[in-house]
C-alpha cells in the first residue's frame, strides 16, 4: 500500500509535446507539492496545494500547470515540452498543522517521474 504514488515512473517524449504526470496520496494529508530535481540533483519546489488551493507557485514557466481535483490528487500538466524540462519530478504530501505532532509538517515523497525530452 504505497503512501504517495506517481504515474508514470518514466516518460520519454519529443520536444513540443504535451504531457501529464499524476500523483496520488493515501495518507489523508491536506497539502501536496511538486518538486523538480535537475541533472545536478538539485531539488527545488515548484508548486504546493493545500486543500485544493494553490499556495506556492514558484517562478515556473506558464507551460507548467498543476491541477488538484481533490485533496488526495495533484497532477502536473506540461505544455510544449522543451529540452530543459528533462528532470526528475517528485510529488510529496504532508499534513500541515498548527499543533505540535510527531508527523505534522513532515513531507513524504513519491518515487519520482523521470522525464526525458528528446
Amino acid at each position: 500500500d504505497t503512501a504517495v504514488s506517481q504515474t508514470p515512473k518514466y516518460l520519454v517524449t519529443q520536444m513540443g509535446n504535451d504531457k501529464s504526470i499524476k500523483c496520488e496520496q493515501n495518507l489523508g494529508h491536506d497539502t501536496m507539492y511538486w518538486y523538480k530535481q535537475d541533472s545536478k540533483k538539485f531539488l527545488k519546489i515548484m508548486f504546493s496545494y493545500n486543500n485544493k488551493e494553490l499556495i506556492i507557485n514558484e517562478t515556473v514557466p506558464n507551460r507548467f500547470s498543476p491541477k488538484s481535483p481533490d485533496k488526495a490528487h495533484l497532477n502536473l500538466h506540461i505544455n510544449s515540452l522543451e529540452l530543459g524540462d528533462s528532470a526528475v519530478y517528485f510529488c510529496a504530501s504532508s499534513q500541515v498543522g498548527t499543533s505540535v505532532g510527531l508527523d505534522t509538517d513532515t513531507q513524504y515523497f513519491g518515487p519520482g517521474t523521470r522525464l526525458t525530452v528528446l
Binding site: 497539502t31 507539492y33 518538486y35 545536478k40 540533483k41 538539485f42 531539488l43 527545488k44 519546489i45 504546493s48 499556495i55 506556492i56 526528475v88 517528485f90 510529496a92 504532508s94 500541515v96 505540535v100 509538517d105 513532515t106 513531507q107 513524504y108 515523497f109 518515487p111 519520482g112 523521470r114
Partner: protein
C-alpha cells in the same frame, strides 16, 4: 529566502565506521524544522530524521543522530555503524513554519559505504 549549504559533495566511509555530514543554513526565522532525507540509487526520497528548532535536545533515529546548533545555524548528521545500505545521497532541508511549508534543500552529499 533561506539558503542551505552542504559543503561536502562526497564522503566515503568503511562499513561499521561513523561518518558525519555537515549542513549550515541561513535564516532570520525563529520557528522552523530541519530534515535529513536520503536518496539511494533507486531515487526514492526517504526521510531520515527531523529536528524542531524549538527543541534543544538533538533528534536520534537508531543509528542516525543530529547535532543541532541553533545559534551557529548548523545541523550535522552522524551515521553510526555504517552499513552498505546507507550508500546514498543525503540532503539537508529547511522548512519555516509559515503559510507555504516548502522545503529548501542543500545540494546534497553523496555517501559511499565501503565493504
Amino acid at each position: 529566502a533561506q539558503t542551505v549549504t552542504q559543503s561536502q559533495p562526497e564522503m566515503s566511509v568503511q562499513e561499521a565506521e561513523t561518518v558525519t555530514l555537515s549542513c549550515t543554513y541561513d535564516t532570520s526565522e525563529n520557528n522552523y524544522y530541519l530534515f535529513w532525507y536520503k536518496q539511494p540509487p533507486s531515487r526514492q526520497m526517504i526521510l531520515v530524521i527531523r529536528q524542531e528548532a524549538y527543541k534543544q535536545q538533538n533528534a536520534t533515529e537508531n543509528r542516525f543522530s543530529v547535532n543541532f546548533q541553533k545559534a551557529a545555524k548548523s545541523f550535522s548528521l552522524k551515521i553510526s555503524d555504517s552499513q552498505l545500505g546507507d550508500t546514498a545521497m543525503y540532503f539537508c532541508a529547511f522548512m519555516k513554519l509559515s503559510n507555504d511549508y516548502k522545503l529548501s534543500f542543500g545540494a546534497g552529499t553523496t555517501v559511499t559505504v565501503r565493504a
